[in-house]
């Protein structure tokens, strides 16, 4: 009977999310990635968040006012000390590398698999204060295959084992997270699987492809694409931090577009030059020529992918943009980009300055909650 009552307890909690689950002391891993920085900026605007601590092995790339940065590699013992010392209740793991051309395969593996393992190890233990663990994953978990369903739901597994390194790493990292969730019932583990992100500030392989004057397509294929706007990614991470969302959620905007439709919305012309057979083999020489086509993109250009986003919507999350609107926004950015290039101020992190601003008794601190940092 004891088992039954234990099982009942979280269900009642489910219906009325207790305020105890709201994030108050947050650790953001991968603070120097685009997502980590954006999320920390978003969290800073919530006065009820007492502490925001960011860790990474590189300097932050975005301007932050009250987030504290600790430069540390993925060593679990060090991160664990930070977690316990700062009484972190929510860990947002935003480090995952999902684009194989941005990072060398070995580094990506180190970051995605070993890094995740270490972060998880830092959150385990009897006396660990962590109550929420939010993991930023990717729809590459599902892969792109010929016999895929048109809309993946969260409980589906990929029909074939992963073929590319990055997909293997993502599957492995997610397995580690789900094992962690099984082992630690007192922690709410949330996995968010994001579809292809599109937005003016993010340079992904797809963004690079769409910025070409003629967008290459595989001859005879018109894959289905679903995007999510970069602002919605940050909002989804925030939503997960402030609500109790156990389990896995797809994050993809409403609407699945055909690639030809995307190209039309961007005002570009399609160039169906990639051969339908042996696309992967052709990618190697093209890579040498400077067209960096990631492995995981080859199958997506043929078969595409769609996600069922209703599970996250059912938790009360609303998207700011549909896929179509995200594409239109991105198209506007592409046209504006040549005009605005270079006018945006680059942010460089200066350790001494940041520490002075945070800790010096001479700095006059106003109400931080409403203060907007420069340059956003």
């Amino acid at each position: 009977m004891a088992g039954v009552s234990q099982k009942d307890a979280p269900i009642t909690e489910d219906e009325s999310p207790a305020p105890a689950h709201r994030a108050r002391r947050v650790l953001v891993t991968g603070l120097s990635t685009y997502w980590g920085g954006r999320l920390a900026q978003a969290l800073e605007s919530h006065p009820e968040v007492e502490a925001i601590i960011g860790v990474d092995n590189r300097d932050p790339t975005r301007e932050l006012t009250r987030t504290e940065f600790v430069k540390v590699s993925n060593q679990h013992s060090l991160i664990q000390r930070i977690v316990i010392a700062a009484e972190i209740d929510t860990v947002v793991d935003s480090r995952l590398v999902v684009d194989s051309v941005t990072t060398a395969p070995r580094l990506a593996h180190e970051n995605n698999v070993i890094g995740t393992m270490n972060i998880l190890a830092a959150c385990t233990g009897r006396d660990s204060p962590v109550k929420n663990f939010i993991f930023k994953s990717s729809a590459h978990y599902y892969g792109c295959e010929q016999d895929d369903p048109a809309f993946f739901t969260e409980d589906m597994r990929r029909p074939h084992p992963p073929r590319t390194r990055i997909e293997r790493d993502i599957v492995e990292a997610e397995t580690a997270v789900s094992e962690f969730a099984d082992r630690s019932p007192h922690v709410t583990a949330t996995v968010l699987r994001f579809s292809n992100v599109l937005g003016p500030h993010l340079l992904t392989s797809h963004a690079r492809m769409f910025s070409l004057p003629l967008v290459p397509m595989v001859l005879g294929f018109d894959p289905r694409y679903q995007f999510v706007h970069e602002d919605d990614v940050v909002r989804a991470l925030e939503h997960a931090a402030f609500n109790r969302l156990p389990g896995t959620y797809n994050v993809a905007a409403d609407g699945v577009l055909a690639l030809s439709e995307v190209i039309g919305l961007l005002g570009k012309r399609p160039l169906p030059v990639l051969p339908p057979w042996g696309t992967g083999a052709l990618a190697a020489p093209l890579r040498r020529l400077g067209f960096r086509i990631p492995d995981e993109m080859v199958n997506q250009l043929r078969f595409g992918r769609g996600l069922d986003n209703r599970k996250l919507k059912a938790t009360g999350f609303t998207y700011g943009y549909t896929s179509r609107e995200a594409v239109i926004r991105f198209g506007e950015h592409l046209r504006l980009h040549p005009v605005l290039r270079g006018s945006e101020r680059e942010f460089t992190y200066e350790k001494e300055v940041e520490e002075f601003l945070r800790w010096s008794p001479h700095v006059r601190r106003t109400d931080r909650g409403t203060e907007e940092p420069f340059g956003i």
């Binding site: 010929q146 589906m156 001859l219 577009l257 057979w277």
Partner: protein
């Protein structure tokens, strides 16, 4: 070497079936709620989320389908009232012809004759998604891959009409001498899908398609060389090239929609009862076969009906 398919998303009933009777109502509300969360239609778009293009479909309909339906095959339709005007329904039909004309004619029959016409989603093999050209065109005209999850979403969440050919390629492969002899109806997966989705099953019989494109032989070597599903030898194919695939003979078509079978009345969770699934699948097959025999028997001439 059937590829391992992803498991069908569990319907709420299956996962929360602890308190059988009491759970019924909230689950229903859940389904309604999930339907409300389906993406809204963006009127500016020309394609829907499945990749269906009204423009291309309309173009094909106005030109080829219209001609074949009205003048070439002179389709006669019976029992159109058996196609439900609302809710999910799975149409189950016999299948024939190298490039099967039956699917297009059934969709056109619903568009033309039904009092409340609805678009029909035609399930096709996964093969088409991987074959260049087909992969681009097939979804645009309303075909979806025959994945159980796709069928479930269309029937249960979107409450649409879906057409399935349980014979699959075994039906289109068969030779002229085997005409109007139904092949095995798969493993009854289509019945399971309809039961899970609480949809109606509507058996459909098509007479005439077998004669419109008689297949005399299958060229296995050429099939392997082209990577196609099968390589039929018909009166016009491969002699006239790929266009020969459209070289239909002007056989008279008769399409009969049989009385629907309601899966909701089969008790709670009938899909888990494999015996019931097989019984229903065989019942449908028998009814289609029986009606086919009757229709072929009544027919005086292959060409004039």
């Amino acid at each position: 070497m059937a590829p391992e398919r992803t498991p069908l998303s569990p319907v709420p009933q299956a996962s929360e079936g602890d308190e059988a009777g009491a759970a019924q109502l909230p689950v229903r509300r859940d389904a309604e709620r999930m339907r409300e969360l389906l993406p809204a239609i963006e009127p500016e778009r020309r394609l829907n989320d499945w990749g269906r293009s009204e423009r291309i479909e309309g173009l094909l309909d106005r030109t080829m389908i219209e001609f074949f339906y009205r003048y070439w095959f002179r389709c006669d339709v019976e029992g159109i009232e058996n196609v439900p005007a609302e809710g999910g329904a799975l149409l189950v039909s016999n299948h024939s012809g190298a490039l099967p004309p039956d699917a297009g004619m059934i969709a056109k029959a619903i568009r033309e004759e039904h009092s409340r016409p609805r678009p029909l989603n035609i399930t096709v093999e996964h093969f088409f998604k991987g074959y260049p050209g087909f992969s681009m065109l097939i979804p645009k005209v309303g075909c979806v891959a025959a994945h159980p999850a796709n069928v479930h979403r269309l029937l249960y969440d979107e409450r649409q009409l879906v057409l399935v050919f349980p014979e699959g390629r075994k039906g289109t492969e068969k030779l002229f001498k085997e005409r109007y002899r139904l092949r095995r109806f798969g493993r009854g997966g289509f019945v399971e899908a309809a039961m899970r989705a609480e949809a109606q099953l509507v058996p459909v019989c098509v007479v005439g398609a077998e004669e419109s494109m008689p297949v005399f032989a299958q060229a296995n070597l050429l099939r392997r060389m082209t990577g196609l599903l099968y390589f039929p030898i018909t009166p016009t194919f491969p002699w006239l090239g790929p266009l020969g695939m459209l070289g239909y003979l002007p056989a008279k078509f008769r399409i009969r929609f049989l009385e629907p079978i309601d899966t909701v009345q089969m008790g709670p969770d009938p899909a888990s009862d494999k015996g019931l699934v097989q019984t229903v699948a065989q019942e449908i097959r028998a009814r289609i076969q029986e009606n086919l025999h009757e229709m072929v028997g009544e027919r005086r001439s292959v060409w004039l009906g």
